[in-house]
């Protein structure tokens, strides 16, 4: 088992290095010169050149790349052009807000989709099932930014129930978390339902039924555990996607997380912060995938062996 973990971790490090390279390239390709942005429209050519030199922007690309990689591996992305201070420090400061939002949304998705998916799968073909499946389909097809805006207009604007944005109290968390959860709530509900129903046709279900147990026990003990296996994989990926959607949702709800920081930094060509933020997101995503791989073995014994072999 330890050998597998080491192998997976090594693979993850390679992926991280690849991500850093891509970050470097993309940020250099994007048009717009940070030196002129920092100095503003009134700056002289000489001033700009001076700043470019001090930022190392006039070095050959390959030298910039080498320095970038060496520094990045020590989590040094330089000083934020816009905010001053360490770029990585800025990102880490914003990270808890994003994690709180993503974790809340994840809890919401897992809980609600399991409950709804099970409710549908227990009575397939009934009105209840159709309502849940139809609702799930609807939720899945709603664009997130639209859901966010509608929630703000209806819940905060018209009904005055919850704040439309900001940070600090649990009340602020509710709308952005729901917005983040909505589309995956639909997807995972359908997944729980379909994957459970698929299991219900398996031979072991017939064996279990022949043992003489209640349909309830049959479902919760024998079917559901098998049905949830693919859901776990998907849940891991969803958490990664949440980080991506944080960019939009945090902007809509003025939530002070990494997503909003990233957007603001991109708009201001604040390269160090952009690089640090993307790298942090990538690390989290890689870590999640690693975790899902290892967790998978816990629920599905077949994987444990397949991985060991």
């Amino acid at each position: 088992m330890i050998r597998i973990i080491v192998r997976r971790v090594a693979a993850s490090v390679l992926v991280a290095l690849g991500v850093l390279t891509i970050i470097f390239i993309v940020v250099r390709i994007v048009p717009g010169d940070p030196a002129s942005l920092i100095l503003g429209a009134g700056a002289t050519h000489q001033q700009i050149e001076q700043l470019r030199t001090s930022l190392g922007l006039n070095q050959p690309l390959i030298v910039q790349y080498g320095e970038f990689m060496i520094n990045a591996l020590q989590f040094k992305f330089g000083t934020s052009y816009r905010l001053g201070g360490d770029a990585m420090g800025q990102v880490l400061q914003a990270l808890p807000a994003t994690l709180l939002l993503a974790a809340t949304a994840m809890a919401l998705v897992l809980l609600a989709s399991t409950v709804a998916g099970v409710a549908a799968a227990r009575r397939p073909g009934t009105l209840r099932d159709r309502a849940i499946s139809g609702g799930a389909m609807l939720l899945q097809s709603l664009p997130q930014f639209w859901v966010g805006i509608v929630l703000i207009i209806v819940v905060s604007g018209t009904l005055h129930l919850l704040p439309s944005g900001g940070y600090g109290s649990p009340l602020n968390l509710i709308l952005p978390a729901i917005t983040m959860a909505v589309s995956f709530l639909g997807m995972l509900t359908k997944m729980v339902r379909n994957s459970s129903l698929e299991q219900a046709g398996e031979g072991f279900v017939q064996t279990a039924r022949a043992k003489g147990m209640s349909e309830q026990r049959l479902f919760y003990v024998h079917i559901l555990r098998n049905g949830l296996i693919p859901v776990v994989t998907l849940a891991g990926l969803v958490l990664g996607v949440f980080l991506g959607s944080a960019v939009v949702i945090e902007t809509v709800f003025a939530w002070p997380g990494v997503g909003r920081l990233l957007i603001q930094s991109i708009l201001n060509r604040d390269y160090p912060v952009v690089e640090a933020a993307v790298f942090v997101f990538a690390l989290i995503y890689i870590g999640l995938n690693l975790l899902v791989d290892l967790l998978y073995g816990l629920i599905d014994p077949r994987v444990r062996v397949a991985v060991t072999a």
Binding site: F204, Q206, T207, A210, G212, M213, R217, R302
Partner: protein, 345 residues
């Protein structure tokens, strides 16, 4: 191998007249969008304690549906089961509610399914799946259930049971898995064991060992066993009596040896001619012409007449009843005596 007189005390006692399971004129109706189908049209069976009855038939003959009906496992929304009588000893299965069925299933009538690859739950240990029987029906504690399950693993000849208890199904071979499935079925000492093609999915050598296990179990216990198979050799090895099904109907019934040596139905004769055995090893095998009828287009009269080598005009008109044609022998063929006479030569 069959109807031998080596009988235990239990067998002598039960051999006559007191069947554990007695089903008369079973019919299973399946509702479809194109109208009802009848996977089982007329099936009767009687199994005594300490006796093995083989139900022989091709796929589509209704033998598996019969076994599911006997377990009360056919979904009630699409299937309806009716019978003139359906009794498990004193229990009237015909009027059993789902709750009654649940207490019977697994504990009084148990079943072994065909495919050991899929009949065990992949996420639980094999031991736990046996132990579940004791937890479900006897309310046993974890420890007691574990001990009882280990005992069952020994009984089905799983070597080193204590070490294998916590293995998962995928770590077992097909034969070992089937032993676990058998252990589950036998756990509560059922009165009737139904085995639906228990060896079909296994390698030939493994088949033989599993069949040996069945014989051994049948000898040691007092239960009635129903073995569902399409394989005459399997039926010949373990069964005391054979029932032959064709297109949802019982067409022949009798003691194994007599049925195999002198069949009383042309379908049985056809099955025998189609497999190699000692008497026809030097002649070409003769397949039964045509294929089993589709459920939605069952021929009129005797359903077999379209494939029957001796069919005459009346075969297409009337349905031959199952009649006694010799001692302990029943056949649903108008010309049963002719078939038997020909077979004797």
């Amino acid at each position: 191998m069959n109807n031998t007189n080596v009988v235990g005390p239990g067998r002598a006692q039960h051999a006559q007249g007191s069947p554990v399971l007695d089903v008369q004129h079973l019919q299973v109706r399946l509702e479809t969008l194109d109208g009802p189908l009848f996977p089982v049209r007329d099936m009767s069976l009687r199994v005594n304690a300490n006796e093995t009855l083989a139900i022989l038939g091709e796929s589509g003959s209704g033998k598996s549906v019969t076994s599911l009906a006997l377990m009360g496992l056919l979904p009630r929304d699409t299937f309806s089961v009716s019978a003139e009588s359906m009794r498990l000893k004193d229990e009237d299965l015909g009027s059993a509610t789902e709750k009654t069925w649940r207490s019977i299933r697994g504990s009084r009538i148990a079943m072994v399914f065909q495919d050991p690859q899929s009949s065990l739950n992949p996420v639980y240990t094999v031991g736990a799946q046996i132990a579940e029987m004791f937890r479900l029906h006897r309310g046993a504690s974890r420890g007691d259930a574990r001990r009882a399950a280990l005992e069952m693993m020994d009984r089905v000849r799983i070597p080193d049971a204590a070490a294998k208890y916590d293995s998962y199904p995928h770590e077992f071979s097909g034969g070992m898995r089937q032993r676990i499935v058998i252990a589950i079925a036998l756990a509560l000492d059922p009165e009737v064991l139904i085995a639906d093609e228990p060896t079909t999915a296994l390698d030939v050598t493994v088949q033989a060992r599993i069949l040996d296990l069945f014989k051994e179990i049948a000898k040691d216990s007092n239960m009635g066993t129903i073995l569902i198979t399409h394989d005459i050799a399997v039926a010949a090895t373990v069964a005391d009596r054979i029932s032959v099904m064709y297109a949802g109907r019982l067409v022949e019934e009798g003691p194994t040896r007599q049925v195999l040596e002198q069949p009383a139905h042309p379908y049985t004769q056809g099955l025998l001619d189609a497999v190699p055995n000692a008497s026809n090893e030097r002649t070409a095998l003769i397949p039964i012409k045509g294929s089993p009828p589709n459920l939605s287009h069952i021929p009129s009269g005797c359903a077999f007449h379209t494939r029957c080598p001796i069919a005459r005009d009346e075969c297409a008109l009337g349905v031959p009843e199952l009649l006694r044609v010799a001692a302990e022998r029943d056949s649903a063929c108008f010309f049963a005596e002719e078939v038997m006479t020909n077979a004797a030569h």
